[in-house]
Symmetry: C2
Subunit: 360 residues, 2 copies
DNA sequence: CTGTTAGCGCCTTCAG
DNA sequence: CTGAAGGCGCTAACAG
C-alpha cells in the first residue's frame, strides 16, 4: 500500500542507495540521476519513513522544546521563536527539515522527566528546555542524570531562560539575569521615593522566583545601608511585605489584597511577572486606590499585553523572541555556544505609566 | 553503548520476545516473569528505541497538534488541554505513553502542509488540527489530500475549532459556532440601542473571520428588516464600517482609529477577537472617548485576560479547554466521535462592563 | 559517481 | 505461557 524507497528506486531505475543519497543530499550524485529520482519521488508521492530512517541512521529529525505552560505567552513566544529558527533550517526538499515540537510540562517535574524520556526514546536530535527550574535537589539530580543520558545518546541539550546546571551534558545555557532585573526595578521605585514596597512573588521553589526576589531584596538592602533612617526598609519588613503564589493573575490579585491588608500604607507593589501584575492592578483598583497616584505597580517580562494595560505597565523587558531564536540555532548547531557554555541575558528596565513618585 | 531489548532479555534470562510482550502489555505473561523483566529494565535503565519499535510495528506513539500561533493563548489553551488529555492516557509504565507535541504553523499554509508531511513521515498515531481554516480552495484541496493520505496510513485526524472538511479522512470535527456567536454579540449591542456599530474583522481569507462577520451582518440585517426607519443599518453602511486586519492588538488599534475617522458618531466597536478588542480599547481611549459611556467595545473568545481588561470585556466565551480535552480524547480513540463526525460547539454571550447603552 | 551487502532494534507470526 | 526466526524500510560502509 505505502510506497517505499525501493519503489522509487525501481521507477527511477537506480539502486535504493542512490535514492537515499539524493534524498539526504549528503553525497555526490549526477545531476541527471538526481532529477530522475526526484521525478519518481513526485510521481509516486513518496514520503520517507521516518522511523526506518532514524533506526538505520541512529538519529532522528525530532527536536523537542519543553515549556512549563503553553498557554502562557512567556513560553509561547520563546517556543515559537525557537521552532521557527529550527524549521527555517530546512533545505526545502524532503531532506533537511527538522520536526520541532513543543511539549507542555505544566510545571510538573514528573512530566518534565517523562517528556525527556519520550524524547530520548525517539532519539531526538536536540532538546531545548525553557523556563525556570525547580529548586528541589532531588529533581535537579534526576534531571541532570536524564540530560546526561540524552547527551550521551548524541542529543544536543540547550537550556533557555533557565539557570546553568551542573555537569557537562548541556551544550549551551541561555540564562536570564532575573536577579539583576529585579534589582533594577526596585531601584527604580526607590529612586522615585517609595519606601513601603510590597512584593508579590512566584512559587517559592522556582529559581526564577528566588532570583527576582533576591534582586529586589538586594536593592532594598543597599538602600537601607546607604539611606539609613528609621523609615528605611529592613529585612524583617521585607519578609512581611512578601507574599508567594503561582504565576497567575488570580494569585496576584489575592496576594495584593493580602499585602494591602497587612500594610495599608503601601505605596508600591512589585509583581513577579506581568501576569501577576495584572491581578495586582485589579486588587489595587478594587481597594479604591488609583494607579500610579496612590500605588505604583510593576511587573516583569514585558509580555505583549503589558503595554496595553491601563495604565501601561512598568516592567523589565526580557528579549524572549531573540532568546528563543538563539536557543533554536544552538540546538541546530548553526550557532556556536558561548565560551563557558553559559550566556547571561540582561533584562531592560522599561518605565511606563504604572509607576510614579508616591504621594507626599 | 546503549542498552537494547536484547540486553534486558539476557539479564532477565528470557527471550527478547518476552521482554517485548511485557513492555507492550498486550499479551499474557506470567507475573513472575514480568517482574523479572521489569527489574532488569530498571537495573539497566533501559529506554525503548522508538524508531525501531515504530518501524517494526508500523505505528508510532507520536501525536501532533497543529496550531496557528503558539504565542496566542487561544491556541495555547486548546493545545495544552489536548496534550494533557493525551498524556494522561499513559498507563504509567514505559508502554502506553503517547508523545503529544505541538507544531506551530504561524498561520502559514505551506508550513501547515510541511508539518503534516513531517508527521506523516513519523507515522504519527494521530493529528489534531486546530484553529480557523484558510478559505483558499487550492489550499483546502491540498490539505484534504494530505489528510486523506494520513488517514490512509492509519493516522487518526481530528479537527478542533475548525469547520468541517470534505472527504471522509477526518475522524471527528469540533467546530465552533462562530457565526452564532457573532450574531449573539451584535444582537446584544442592538438590544442596548446601538445603531452605528463598527466591526474590526480578522484576516479576510480565514473561515473564522468570515463566520463571525456573517453572524454580525445577520444580526444587523434582521434588525434592519424588523426595525425599519432611516437610521437602521444597511449592508452598504456595514461594509463601510468593517475593517480587516490580522488577529493582533496592533491591528485592532489601527483599524479602530480608521473606523473612528470614517464615522465619528460610532457608538460601538465589535472586534473579531479579544486580542483585537484590546487594541480597539486603546484606540478608543486615545481618541478621548470613554468605554463604555461613549463607545462600547466587545471581543470574542473570552481569553483569560479579558476579565481583567479595564473595563472588563464583553465577549463570547468559547470553551477552549473543554474542546481541547475532547479533541485529545478523540485523537486517542477514547471518546467516540459524534454522529456524522461533526460536533458544533456554541459560544456563550458573556456580558461585562465594556458594553452599555449608547448616550442619548 | 553508482550498486551491493549487511545490519539498525524491535515486533510478530509460528511452533512448542 | 515462552522461544525462534524473519522482516519492517532505510542507511552506511565497501567495492566497482
Amino acid at each position: 500500500m505505502t510506497v517505499t524507497l525501493a519503489d522509487v528506486a525501481a521507477r527511477a531505475r537506480v539502486s535504493p542507495a542512490t535514492v537515499s543519497r539524493v534524498l539526504n543530499g549528503n553525497y555526490p550524485v549526477a545531476a541527471s540521476t538526481r532529477e530522475r529520482v526526484l521525478r519518481a519521488v513526485d510521481e509516486l508521492d513518496y514520503v520517507l519513513n521516518g522511523p526506518a530512517s532514524a533506526l538505520a541512521a541512529a538519529t532522528s529529525d525530532l527536536v523537542g522544546i519543553l515549556v512549563n505552560d503553553i498557554a502562557d505567552p512567556f513560553f509561547g513566544i520563546m517556543a515559537g521563536a525557537a521552532q521557527s529558527a529550527i524549521g527555517d533550517t530546512g533545505t526545502g526538499r524532503a531532506g533537511g527539515e527538522k520536526l520541532a515540537v513543543v511539549c507542555n510540562t505544566g510545571g510538573s517535574p514528573e512530566r518534565e522527566l517523562t517528556y525527556l524520556t519520550l524524547l530520548q526514546r525517539q532519539r531526538a536530535a536536540a532538546v531545548v528546555v525553557t523556563g525556570g527550574a525547580l529548586d528541589d535537589p532531588a529533581h535537579i539530580a534526576a534531571l541532570t542524570a536524564k540530560l546526561a543520558k540524552l547527551a550521551d545518546a548524541g542529543t544536543r541539550v540547550v537550556l533557555c531562560g533557565r539557570p546553568p546546571m551542573p555537569g557537562d551534558a548541556v551544550t549551551a545555557t541561555l540564562a536570564f539575569d532575573n536577579r539583576g532585573g529585579g534589582r533594577l526595578l526596585t531601584e527604580h521605585l526607590l529612586a522615585l521615593g517609595h519606601r513601603r514596597i510590597g512584593y508579590v512573588a512566584g512559587p517559592a521553589e522556582r529559581s526564577t522566583t528566588r532570583d527576582r526576589l533576591e534582586g529586589h531584596r538586594e536593592a532594598l538592602a543597599a538602600a537601607g545601608a546607604s539611606g539609613g533612617g528609621p523609615d528605611a526598609p529592613g529585612d524583617g519588613a521585607a519578609d512581611r511585605l512578601t507574599v508567594h503564589g503561582p504565576y497567575t493573575r488570580a494569585a496576584g490579585y489575592e496576594a495584593t489584597r493580602e499585602l494591602l491588608a497587612r500594610d495599608p500604607s503601601l505605596t508600591a507593589v512589585v509583581a513577579a511577572n506581568d501576569t501577576v501584575a495584572l491581578g495586582a492592578c485589579a486588587a489595587v483598583r478594587e481597594a479604591g486606590l488609583r494607579i500610579p497616584q496612590d500605588v505604583s505597580v510593576a511587573g516583569f517580562d514585558d509580555l505583549p499585553f503589558s503595554v496595553d494595560a491601563v495604565p501601561a505597565l512598568t516592567t523589565v523587558r526580557l528579549p524572549l523572541h531573540e532568546a528563543g531564536v538563539r536557543a533554536g540555532r544552538l540546538a541546530m548547531g548553526t550557532d556556536t555556544p558561548p565560551p563557558g557554555g553559559v550566556e547571561t541575558i540582561a533584562g531592560e528596565l522599561t518605565v511606563r505609566a504604572s509607576t510614579a513618585p508616591p504621594r507626599a
